[in-house]
Amino acid sequence: MKNSSKQQDYELIRKINDGDTSAFRQLVYMHKDVSLSLAISILKDPVIAEDVLQDVFIKVYHKLHTFQYKSTFSTWLYRIVINTSYNELKKKKHTVEIKEDNNAFDLPSSNRNNLIEADQKKYIHLALEKLRPDEALLLRLFYLCEYKIKEIEKVTGFTSSKIKVDLHRGRENLHFYLKQLLGDDLNNLL
């Protein structure tokens, strides 16, 4: 599965380098949502993250001829997404505050019954938003992109020990915030 998508990416990149812009459209379509999720992990703001992603894809379009087919395209792309997002974070001096206000999470009891898909997504986003950028990013890279520690090292530039520690903290904090948000209804999510 992973290998076939890798080959598909390579095929599209060759087409783009030959001047086929519709292939670029397809490449963006395949990677935009995960890339946006990674950017949001760092920036916490969907609007800013989407702007950053626009810049990233423009950069990618102009630099695609330098891609050397040594790594997967997604690894190359996510590295650019992560670097650009951290740069934006520094520039805007966004301070990601972890709210201590427990009441903010309390939901009416009627909302807690039979969580539908859209609600589930909303609560997961809320919980991930509360995590530190590094933790949310690492959780998404590990569980969403299914990257191994070595691959995460390459993409983020973090050391393996930092990755392991932040992943552990991320898991614990995510569970904590989800528990705060949903209480016993957390089981519906699992």
């Binding site: 812009t21 670029f24 459209r25 963006v28 379509y29 935009k32 949502d33 995960v34 946006l36 999720s37 949001i40 969907p46 993250a49 989407e50 992603l53 626009q54 894809f57 423009i58 379009y61 898909e117 589930q120 997504k121 997961i124 986003h125 991930l128 959780l139 998404r140 569980y143 969403l144 898991r171 995510l174 569970h175 989800l178 999510l189 699992l190």
Partner: protein, 113 residues
């Protein structure tokens, strides 16, 4: 929380881009490509170099014309001072070059805004 449960939860955390994301992106790329093509021929650097060469040529020619005893200014009956004429024309040309640089600066500032 078990690994499988976490994986299931995080797999639901994908955020979708807005509907017109790809169209906006492709438009932005197209606009950049167009301006890039124009910039190759009419880049500020090209214009500045051309203007500087032109000004050097004019000043050089002017120096030749004014400097010689049988020059243009000597042939007329009125006594026209050579140095002020040379300086006025030279400064006027330098002011013109400065205007070109200033226009480019304001243009860049406008683009940033």
């Amino acid at each position: 929380m078990k690994e499988e449960e976490l994986k299931r939860i995080i797999s639901k955390s994908t955020v979708e881009t807005s509907d017109d994301f790809i169209n906006n992106l492709m438009n932005a790329i197209e606009v950049q490509e167009q301006t890039k093509k124009v910039k190759v021929w009419w880049s500020f650097r090209t214009i500045l170099i051309l203007c500087s060469i032109l000004i050097l040529l004019i000043v050089g020619l002017l120096h030749q014309v004014i400097g010689t005893d049988n020059g243009l200014l000597n042939s007329s009956s009125i006594d026209i001072p050579k140095t002020p004429v040379f300086l006025i024309i030279t400064f006027a040309l330098l002011y013109y070059l400065n205007t070109v640089i200033r226009l480019n600066y304001y243009n860049q500032e406008k683009q940033i805004d």
